[in-house]
Symmetry: C2
Subunit: 791 residues, 2 copies
């Protein structure tokens, strides 16, 4: 029968408690104020809800979940990944049977999988790139034809209408897919992948269906002319590919290739997903090293050299695949010149050098980027709150997306129409769609190069067009308009990234700075190249919005193919981060917080040394005995209010009501498999009917059936189950007096899901899970505690 | 009084023991065969010997230690760093007193220190570079004068003599410094820093004296014309700078600046040292990202974002400082064009591209590099064994170094003399010392560009000189000769790195490959640039010798300033690593093994799941009581045969002879400080005389006095000490059944020094230290155990 450990008395360390800051006491009062039951549940882990929900429910739930959020809540909806291996007897037996050759084969298989991940991610990137090019080409061709026709005839409003309708149509398709079929595919996917790599099980994030919707969605939204990029979603796509390939089967397609069965557990899967994310970055920016750093910066808690190399391998293969297939597509096979989806182009050797006295200017631009980034994030934060409150029905979401698409087209058209910035058309123009409009023959409208183009091309024009291609007014207006459009667009129910719009905004005002500087400076030759300032501005703006530093530096350096800018970029990004962080967090972090995800940061808050495991842990804990009655297990697993996921297994020394000595830890998923296979000791005498193997657990992974689907007869309820063989006999434990930073470090470094708290007699007194640690954060007034919410 | 826990019976898990492989039993027999006493000592931790030795003894010891080594031994001489923070009451009180502002100040101070580290490392690099340039300039000028004079007169043997004498003189100075003053400064220092970052306390490695000798040594050996580079030692220099700056004092100079006292503990110091190493790489190669990756690849077990950014900051400052001061030195202030000591120069845009069909060629070159690297390592391994056995007296070492210097000069001279590879002198020649010798007027001897030059310049000529500058025979002979010279040179008692010679060898045969290919290929234009092949060859050779992959890729990419080669370099390095690893380990790992350092790799051997903590741990363990008699403590600390470093503190429940319940862990260094300050409960009644603070511990760090220097009177021996306040109350523990990989993961991820093994009653049964884990490695016949040696 289940044994509920007694609630530990809190008074035993009165001295510590007495010294608590009043503020935290306030926070605690708050928590109690917010409802006793909530508090109670908050201190327990809940069931993984992923397993028992149909797609329809899914959508309803994912919409529901978004209503009551604010960043002071912590959702109980999210479970942790089991990054800690359950080293039970089955596992040890399997390992023992395996020869050294077997381990080597496993290692080779890991490399093969990483190669596959890179290859498929590269292919997907290539597919997206080509389809977007084609669709956008058709669209711009049609609109250009129409504009040219109507410029002379009059009646350009028909062209505008055509443009707006085309845009809206594309966006509608993408938005419908995302909103009605797979809402998790919306946005760039980077926050979700960050969470996954952090160890949070985000429902449905790495499913095949998500990938398909993501790809369709991103094609539609880029072709639809929104202020978005196709780079962010590549990271998500890579992660899904990795999760799929490494498991050797698709649960969505109900197809099992009977391959890679060994890797069907969270530990291995997360490693592969980090390789996939890196491959995605690599394909998006042609930045394999940046990809590795991105994965490590976001995900790795424990740096493992072999893993790092595999990630690197996947990244390299990914960019190579993309490069290779694109070179074939561009009919120059073998000429590997497009390593990523975005290609900043090569800077001339002359413009590459920077001078010492430019560094202060770069720093100022970095600060400006930080300010503008913070403004972007604040506006987008408000907008997101508004969306969470009022726009949570799919049809509304689709309509908003279409509206944005139409407005984008209209605004762009207006900008082009009213600008009279005519530039001579160079003979060797790289513009694909130069719009003459009202300009003289042999000239083109320079505002059109910024708006009448895919954002990637616009960025490249801003970086590389010769000085004088743009006039300052054009750039200023463009910055303002595009900034607002981008703020409005991010968070729409479409698949789209924020990298390219950020770069574009930054490149525009950066180029503006360059031009203004050249007016001010006496000797014009020094400031000759506004492209350099456009690049610095792009880096500053992107850094101000997303705030990654190390990986972003490397990504930008690799994307330009030039190391010389490394130092200025780093200065700019650091400045942007410091300035931006003063006002508000990075965009991804904001969205993670708004989802109330229990995200673990790198360290515990510095002022939390006086908090101990005793105060942090969930207690009382539901424990099982080594030999437990089936009925008890079924009953405990069926309680929906206290849906636990991990159960300490205890041995009793004296009485049954005493807390027991810890002898293991068993997971809900393991118990479910045991129940499904009816591994009962019949009337506690004969032996097991069939020897279970790890394979049985792997086959059920990752969608373990819910307890309700398992039928246990009244007779069977009286049987006993021997958990000894299946539990993890050596779970990590900490004493009650351990300080929070120490608990945190152990939990984070080893990627734990459950950490058992024991007293000096090795009796179970509590359980620390992710939520117990993620609750504490450093607010403006010192340590604060987040509230726990059921949704 | 001390309580010795009973030896745990091994028979309790007979089932496990029965299934052991016969091979390991063999290994165990071996171990017992090698002497019972050795085995006994091997299972205990020994005293840190660093503290109590004079410089003279130092040298004798460091020579002694090198005699009986082979790679099957594990030395007990090396201690671990305390990367785990001792969270005792003093620490908690200090943290509690600190405001949030205080923590922010600490963080700012960390950034300031990292900036200083970068700045000073850059300065040192700059100093080395300039002095080497000057000295080498003088030398080559003198020799060139002499050669030009005697070419016509006859009697070139006088020039040869001059050259050989100059070389030997330089090398003698460097070698004497290293051999007689600070032997740890010999070599590149990379193996030592790898060990330090791995958590091994290598004696004297981060002292100021080491730095001074290192700088003098490297200047002398490079100016002395040896086949060495000045890049490897920069990493060591950076590490020393970091260790010094972060502590705010120098124990060598007996100067305490009373700054940064908070950082006087191993945890913080190691973090700064990793920043220093990164700054060193960054200054050496102009590769800040590569530096960060190097530090992480070698050192970090736990990736921390803030730490990574600080490391990156130090790297950036370092390369910037070097660049800035060198630009002033070259009289082009503000023109930042030399970011590193080695500068591969810029590749032309045309030669930068590679083609798809070249990739197989690159892979073949990678394999060749792996083979040649393995050959290099095997030859150097034999040579090192020979040196350990026969050349361990300083004067012999100095003589060997001088001999190598003279031979290098002679061989170089002979090569130049007998080669008749005359090339026309280009008008815009970058050669500083073109030797005409027997060539016609307006021509120069091309062999001389390779030999009569600092190795860095030679590398650059090989990469960038136009096709046709070298004839194949010259390159072939040069490769062979330089290969042998480099093998002989690495491991000499001089400060010198192996990066540049490796690159030079590789560039030579790579260029040779390029030339040969251009003969074979029908269309000559494709293979026009042998410089590209020289670069690939350099990468392959370096990868084959040192075997770092990720960081090396980035370093090479950053050093060329060109991202395009990223993919080929990665292919080449991976191939070189796979091929090389088939034969022998990387050069640094060989030297680490030959020093018998207990180096922890990334994971436990894969086949070790059936080994448990019970079998791995050291037992019995010397424990103390919470209240312990001073006499007992002094006695235990004074036992030289079982010099323990960490002592579990236990509380007794029943009898005194029973093993006690774990309630803390105290370190030798803490006890020493307590004894020194005489923190005794006088006759167990009155309170402490003076309240000790963390400051007292920090002041004594890192050279705690030996126990022998502390006088305790007979009266005082009878006093009691209360350890409660000073011990770490929550040491990490594992149960006895924990498998080795699990213990390993915990130990490695948290950077532990002592891991207490407890039974299910929370009684202390054993202690796991670094040696217990480093002992196991995967040999040819499965799991093998290393022997433990006292020296």
């Amino acid at each position: 029968m289940a044994n509920i450990a007694k609630k530990v008395s809190w008074s035993s360390r009165g001295d510590d408690r007495g010294e608590r800051t009043p503020l935290l006491n306030g926070a605690e009062d708050n928590k109690q104020f917010s409802g006793g039951s909530m508090f109670h549940v908050g201190r327990m882990s809940t069931v993984d809800l992923e397993e028992e929900i149909t797609p329809e429910e899914d959508i309803v739930r994912s919409r529901l979940k978004e209503i009551p959020h604010n960043e002071k809540l912590l959702s109980l909806k999210y479970e942790s990944l089991d990054y800690d291996n359950s080293e039970n007897q089955l596992f040890l037996e399997e390992e023992r049977r395996m020869s050294q050759m077997g381990f080597r084969c496993l290692e080779i298989r890991r490399w093969v999988i990483c190669g596959l991940i890179g290859f498929l991610t590269g292919l997907i990137a290539c597919f997206i790139d080509i389809v977007v090019e084609k669709l956008a080409g058709i669209k711009y061709f049609a609109v250009k034809q129409s504009i040219e026709k109507f410029t002379e005839m009059g009646g350009l409003s028909i062209s505008l209408l055509l443009w707006a309708v085309l845009n809206s149509a594309f966006v509608m398709v993408g938005s419908i897919c995302v909103a009605f079929i797979e809402p998790i595919a919306s946005g760039s996917g980077i926050p979700q992948i960050k969470c996954y790599l952090n160890g949070v099980k985000v429902p449905r994030v790495v499913r095949l269906k998500t990938l398909v919707i993501k790809v369709i969605g991103v094609i539609c939204s880029v072709a639809g002319g929104l202020a978005v990029g196709k780079e962010g979603p590549m990271i998500h796509s890579g992660a899904v590919v990795a999760a799929g390939v490494s498991q050797g089967r698709s649960t969505s397609l109900k197809k099992d290739f009977k391959m890679f069965e060994y890797f069907r557990r969270d530990t291995e899967k997360r490693d592969f997903v980090s390789a996939g994310a890196a491959a995605g970055v690599s394909a998006a920016f042609g930045a394999p090293v940046g990809g590795v750093l991105f994965s490590l910066e976001e995900g790795a808690s424990f740096w493992n050299q072999m893993l790092t190399w595999r990630i690197f391998f996947a990244s390299m293969i990914s960019t190579f695949t993309l490069n290779f297939f694109l070179s074939i597509y561009h009919e120059k096979p073998g000429e590997l010149s497009s390593p990523g989806l975005i290609n900043f182009g090569r800077f001339d050797s002359d413009s590459v050098e920077y001078n010492l006295y430019e560094l202060p200017l770069f720093i100022i631009m970095g600060a400006l980027g930080g300010l503008l980034g913070a403004l972007f994030n604040i506006l987008n934060y408000w907008l997101t709150i508004f969306r969470i409150r009022y726009i949570h029905r799919p049809c509304l979401q689709v309509m908003e997306a279409m509206l944005v698409a139409a407005v984008t087209a209209t605004v762009s058209f207006a900008m082009i129409y009213f600008s009279n910035d005519c530039q001579p058309l160079p003979s060797d123009s790289t513009e694909e769609y130069p719009l003459q409009l009202f300009c003289a023959d042999g000239e083109y409208n320079s505002m059109a190069t910024a708006f009448f183009n895919t954002p990637e091309r616009s960025v490249r024009s801003l970086l590389h067009n010769p000085p004088g291609s743009y006039n300052p007014l054009t750039l200023g207006v463009f910055t303002l308009v595009y900034f607002l459009l981008a703020v409005w667009t991010y968070g729409l129910t479409v698949s789209a990234g924020v990298f390219i719009p950020s770069l574009l905004i930054g490149a525009a005002w950066g180029r503006l700075c360059g031009i203004l500087l050249s007016y001010i400076a006496s000797s014009k030759s020094i400031w000759a190249d506004p492209g350099k300032y456009a690049f610095i501005g792009a880096a500053a703006q992107l850094g101000g919005i997303v705030r990654m530093t190390l990986s972003l530096t490397v990504i930008l350096v690799e994307a330009t193919g030039n190391v010389t800018y490394g130092f200025p970029i780093m200065l700019v990004l650091i400045t942007a981060k410091i300035v931006g962080d003063y006002f508000i967090e990075g965009l991804y972090d904001i969205h993670i917080k708004l989802q109330s995800v229990p995200f673990l940061h790198w360290d515990a808050p510095p002022t939390s040394h006086w908090l101990t495991a005793r105060e942090v842990m969930s207690s009382p804990v539901t424990c099982f005995n080594r030999m437990e009655k089936v009925g008890t297990i079924v009953d405990v697993l069926s309680i929906t209010s206290t849906n636990h996921n991990g159960f300490p297994v205890v041995a009793h020394t004296t009485g049954d009501d005493e807390p027991g000595k810890l002898c293991g830890l068993i997971l809900r998923s393991q118990l479910i498999v045991l129940l499904k296979h009816k591994v009962f000791l019949e009337r506690a005498t004969s032996r097991l009917q069939r020897k279970l193997q790890l394979k049985d657990f792997r086959d059920a992974y990752p969608r373990f059936p819910p307890i309700q689907s398992i039928h246990v007869s009244q007779d069977e309820r009286e049987c006993m189950m021997d958990l000894t063989e299946f539990m993890n006999p050596t779970p990590y434990t900490v004493p009650q007096e351990t300080s929070l930073p120490r608990v945190f470090k152990l939990f984070r470094a080893l990627g734990l899901r459950h950490l058992v708290v024991v007293d000096e007699e090795n009796m179970v007194v509590g359980l620390v899970t992710r939520k117990d640690l993620a609750r504490y954060h450093l607010g403006k007034h010192g340590l604060e505690e987040l509230h726990l919410s059921q949704t």
